[in-house]
């Protein structure tokens, strides 16, 4: 008995030391490299998003380093998995702050509010590519929280107006029961009614169920022109199939969460041909074109889900802020220095920098000469307001020949 207890105590000890040894990473700034963090859902419900965003981040890091790196240092990134779970997300933030000791983090994709109590007191900047709810604006974060995506209030407005513009006069809204779905459903409904339409029914759904007939039949009452489906592909596909096969709806509108070519493939046929949707991002800017080309050259395909360009911008802004802050400030308190220079590198009065290696080179040079620059990101102009929010344009897309095609992008005030 005694021996067994000893043995297990030994086991725990060995494991704990393994854990500690495993995380012994070198993190001296100025020693030729600087490490930033990324906190993404690499497993769990949002794994598909997290993994694509990871590619966007890796692309940005590669390009920044090709351009010479901030202050001549090599930019590195360490990924932590938030598992699409708040407890794991919190743990990931603890790892990045206390073990990897990064000055800035790209992420998390959802629930920024879980991470801020850890990052803000430790002077770590977090910049979320996709956390859209309106309450992110009001977090008590000492200004360490930023995002490169628009608040839900903005996308909802565009989605609601798009519904009216497409000729729908009555609509039903089905949304996923989470902070994203609830917020977006509310703002979409408001915008649609303001434009002159009428919302006949609103219902929430739980992901992962076998059938959604109950909600669909309820919503189909009064025969609305369109179903606005706010959710993610996984359950979204099930809903679409049931709505189509029962003949309850044949017109749909989608927000960013459904902006995935997976849904067209899974639903099959031409059922979704000509449907419209909204998402983050710009359709026509030079910066976005550059980004898309670079992404395709690197990975041989277009980004499969939304928000990769928002994460890309997050990395670039952090790198530029590091360069702008200068070596001294970065050595003293890197997090605070980055925070204070986030707005400086996206200064609307400066020289415009778009998303390409050449432009990054130019940006580092200009910063070295003390000139002002304005980063025009792949996802939008990235001009942070006093809350760290940014107004990015909303992309309107349609499904054409089985692919998602950008139509135009709209900048809302």
């Amino acid at each position: 008995m005694k021996r067994k207890i000893l043995l297990s105590a030994l086991l725990v000890f060995v494991f704990a030391s393994l854990l500690l040894a495993g995380c012994g990473s070198e993190e001296e700034a100025g020693g030729g490299e600087i490490t930033i963090g990324a906190l993404l859902p690499l497993s769990g419900d949002l794994a598909e998003y997290g993994q694509n965003v990871q590619q966007g981040i890796n692309l940005a890091v590669k390009q920044i380093n090709e351009a010479g790196g901030p202050l001549g240092m090599e930019l590195k990134v360490v990924f932590r998995d938030s598992q699409t779970d708040p407890t794991a997300l919190r743990d990931g933030a603890e790892k990045l702050v206390n073990v990897d000791q990064v000055p800035a983090i790209v992420g998390p994709m959802i629930r920024t509010d879980v991470a801020t109590p850890i990052t803000a007191p430790n002077h770590v900047v977090i910049i979320s590519p996709s956390n859209t709810p309106t309450w992110v604006t009001e977090l008590d974060d000492d200004d360490y929280t930023f995002r490169t995506t628009a608040s839900d209030a903005i996308q909802g407005k565009v989605l609601g107006e798009l519904a009216y513009e497409r000729g729908y006069r009555t609509a039903a809204i089905l949304y996923i029961n989470d902070p994203y779905g609830g917020g977006l459903a509310e703002s979409t409904g408001e915008a649609f009614e303001q434009a002159g339409g009428e919302v006949l029914g609103v219902a929430a759904y739980e992901p992962g169920e076998v059938t959604y007939m109950m909600q669909l039949e309820e919503l189909a009452k009064g025969d609305p022109d369109v179903l606005v489906l706010i959710g993610y592909p996984e359950s979204g596909v099930v809903i679409l199939r049931q709505a189509l096969s029962e003949g309850l709806f044949d017109q749909f509108l989608f927000p960013d969460g459904m902006q995935s070519e997976q849904i067209i493939e899974d639903v099959g046929g031409d059922y979704l041909e000509g449907m419209y949707g909204t998402g983050p991002g710009a359709a026509e800017t030079e910066s976005y074109e550059n980004y898309l080309n670079a992404y395709e050259a690197e990975y041989g395909e277009k980004p499969a889900t939304a928000y990769t360009e928002n994460a890309y911008d997050g990395v670039v802004v952090i790198a530029l802020a590091i360069a702008s802050a200068g070596e001294e400030a970065i050595e003293e308190d890197p997090g605070q220095a980055i925070r204070d220079h986030m707005r400086v590198v996206a200064n609307p009065s400066g020289e415009i920098i778009s998303a390409s290696v050449d432009d990054f080179k130019k940006a580092f040079e200009l910063i070295g000469q003390g000139e002002e620059i304005d980063y025009e990101g792949a996802a939008g102009s990235i001009d942070f307001d006093e809350y760290g929010d940014t107004v990015t344009p909303i992309l309107i897309w349609k499904i054409e020949n089985g692919a998602i095609v950008p139509v135009r992008s709209e900048v809302s005030e």
């Binding site: 067994k4 086991l11 995380c23 360490v78 743990d91 109590p117 609830g182």
Partner: protein
């Protein structure tokens, strides 16, 4: 680095409390409870609503002291467990497990959808963290590790005392042979109910301790995987029916669960996207190896009471 190790201790300690409580039910009484996350959640939300500051969005926000919040968590978790015990304990074994699983899912959906009470999916922020003013936010984790481990040790001694008393002997008797225990003149259902309520109270306290550590709660925290089945892993790996074993299991499984992330630093970038699944693989592997090589868990339970009785030994 040290900070992170202490944040590991906090969560491992909280899981240790959960594992001890489950061990009381499964290891000592033989109740296969697949709904333990529900009582963890009840405790968490009770304390969150009692102690957070008033809000316009939901009924809660009574701004009461943290200790009252924890007491409230214990009372509510215990009360609901007591009420649920009447219908649920008409069942045994698998059906009991399924009933509890359904109860957890029902309570989870209630918490998720009744936003007048719980603020729905947005969750509750700004739950007070006790004595935060005495520490800097960076050092708070040291204090809380002491709280978490301290409560775990208290729970350990309380449960050890309970299961080694005559009362606990009856529980173990039920686990091994309910018919024989009934024939000895014991009201088995009453004993099971007592064990069920007692350990549910402990789970409620663990939930309360969780929210006062994070300052935040939302329904997503209580996914069946993280709040129920991870604890089951811990108990199974550590040693069902051995209190020290389940604590060991909690510390070990939680270390694997969060530690596997560090392996991503060592694998090539092209493989890094799969790292999330390596974690699942590890936990599955540990469980399989344990069941194949040490089905009783790392630490074994004490001798069966009935065997002792048969051998006519004093115990």
């Amino acid at each position: 680095m040290v900070n992170y190790f202490f944040s590991y201790l906090v969560m491992a300690g909280l899981y240790g409390i959960m594992a001890l409580a489950l061990n009381m039910q499964w290891g000592y009484t033989g109740l296969m409870n697949f709904g333990i996350g529900a009582f963890y959640m009840l405790g968490a939300y009770s304390s969150a609503i009692l102690t957070s500051s008033p809000s316009a969005d939901y009924i809660g926000g009574f701004g009461l002291p943290v200790l009252i919040g924890i007491a409230g968590a214990a009372v509510i978790a215990g009360l609901i467990a007591y009420l649920l015990a009447f219908p649920a304990l008409k069942l045994r074994g698998g059906p009991f497990a399924i009933a509890l699983l359904a109860i957890q899912e029902t309570l989870f959906l209630l918490v998720k959808n009744e936003s007048w009470l719980t603020n729905g999916v947005t969750g509750i922020r700004g739950i007070p963290r006790p004595f935060i003013d005495f520490f800097s936010p960076q050092n708070y984790v040291y204090f809380y590790a002491v709280v978490s481990i301290g409560v775990m040790v208290l729970v350990y001694f309380a449960i050890e005392r309970a299961v080694n008393s005559p009362w606990g002997r009856v529980l173990r008797g039920i686990r091994e042979d309910e018919t024989l225990t009934v024939m000895s003149g014991k009201d088995c259902t009453a004993f099971m109910r007592q064990s069920f309520v007692f350990s549910s109270i402990i789970m409620g306290v663990a939930g309360a301790l969780y929210v006062h550590y994070t300052g935040f709660v939302s329904p997503q925290v209580f996914s069946p995987l993280m709040s129920t089945f991870l604890v089951w892993f811990m108990v199974t790996v550590g040693g069902t029916g051995n209190n020290r074993g389940v604590i060991l299991g909690a510390f070990l499984v939680w270390a694997v669960w969060i530690g596997s992330d560090f392996i991503s630093d060592m694998v090539p970038a092209s493989m890094a996207t799969q790292i999330g699944f390596i974690r699942m693989l590890f936990v599955g592997l540990i469980l399989t190896i344990t069941i194949l090589t040490r089905p009783q868990g790392l630490l074994t339970k004490k001798l069966s009471v009935i065997k002792l009785f048969m051998e006519k030994e004093e115990y």
